[in-house]
Amino acid sequence: MSKLFEIALGIATGLGGFLEAGSLATAAQAGASFGFQLIWAIALGAACIAFLLEMAGRLAAVSRHTLPDAMRERFGIRFFLVPLVTVAIVSFLVLASEIGGVCLALQLVTGVSFRWWALPVALVLWLVLWKGTFGVVEKGAGLLGLVTVSFVVGAFKLHPPLAEVAHGLLPSLPTQNGSQYWFIAVSIIGASVSPYLFYFYSAGAVEDEWDEGYLGINRIVSGLGMTFGAAVAVAALVCAALVLHPLGIKVERYEQVPLILSSPLGLWGFRLFVASLAIGCFGAALEIALQLAYLAAQGLGWRWGKNLKPREAARFSLVYTAALPLAALIIATGMDPLKLTIVSMALTAVSLPVTIVPLLVLMNDPLYLGDRTNGWVSNAAVLIISVVACVVALVAIPLQFLGG
């Protein structure tokens, strides 16, 4: 496969895979409640994840270690347990949110409550992982996710005032509802900078046997993939800002959100919305379930691999086999998927310092990166990200009582 094709595929799947339950829900809430004001949060989150993906890829290519692998080796089991458990818990909640998103999409179309769809959806997800050659599935889900480009189409059809949209790229202070503003900002960052993304990326890079020759591809794919993906999220925000915000509609239930696409695009808009929600969440759920299995296997030294048959990697396969129904149960109990999504995004933001700081230490260790350790730009970016993440984490918890 030529490198150009790999780059194109990588960018396309990055683009297609960006919008899932978290980014869609937070973008819709942000647009509805604050117009264009929170576009900067999406941009900041996307920049963060682009840097972090690049680092995870570079770590994998140079050291031939995945992130959990390197973390356990470098920090020892005791310290490693802290990020391991944190990421596992947070990822599990996000997995439940994604399953919830798929179930909601099915409810929107059939009228049958999302609760009933939870276990069937978990079963389908499990079947895909158990029987599928994941490489194909992963690319397939990412490419199908390109349906989310319909938000961009919808946004343009609504004739957004481009100057105001651009203005939204600059951070601004809210004029009212301050606590809700920052809570949504925090959640947007948590939605973009989900740990499962860079853990999954590092596993993929090792499995695809990336070496130093891939560093260029790594940079381009992570940078452009996330930039385009962010553009889709911004488009969703713009749709919500132009359809819901002028009418004073706040997003409190997923059921309100299809209106942001049906308004510009009619019945097709509704269908594309449902498809985007279902596909985006389904793809994300597959990745998170796998990532939980990677965490356990890579941290404990088991055999692992997304393309292995279950009998070739029994413990690895049983981790996602257990995780999927458990996560589905949370949705089956009837917990509101939108609330679960927003809460798990905020919790992700809280947990960021725990995962970013060890990565930063690794990225500056010549033992792992040779002469490819972080330059001052990457260090500054991650340091700023860590500080932002830390401040965000400190503010997010009490804000939960206010804005949530």
């Binding site: 270690h65 020892g76 404990l300 030294g301």
Partner: protein, 114 residues
């Protein structure tokens, strides 16, 4: 070679490059008047628990009635220490993959498509 940095917590691969677990522990032989030697690396069992918290390990050993299924690889069988630790052992035959085998036979094989 620094034990903590290069050996401990590294991925262990057997002679056929099959993953066997991580180096959970290292066995050292101490002599009062000679250099301390590395005698073996340990994979599995309660070894890891001792590094997390001794109370946890003690409780586990009481319940198990011993140190669990450990694989002790003598140092002379360690072929190479680099990105991973390669050992001259057959993974499938060792206790290191006991749980992998158990889960494969008892659970995975029973599920269609496994």
């Amino acid at each position: 070679m620094l034990l903590g940095r290069d050996v401990l917590d590294q991925q262990v691969l057997d002679a056929e490059e099959r993953p066997m677990g991580k180096v959970d522990g290292v066995v050292l032989e101490w002599h009062p008047r000679a250099a301390t030697r590395v005698v073996a690396v340990v994979v599995g069992g309660t070894t890891l628990l001792w590094r997390i918290h001794r109370r946890l390990a003690a409780w586990a050993e009481r319940r198990r009635g011993g140190e669990g299924r450990r694989t002790v690889v003598p140092w002379r069988k360690v072929l190479h220490v680099g990105v991973d630790v390669k050992v001259d052992v057959e993974a499938e035959a060792s206790p290191a993959l006991y749980w992998e085998r158990w889960m494969r036979e008892r659970i995975v094989r029973r599920i269609p498509g496994g």
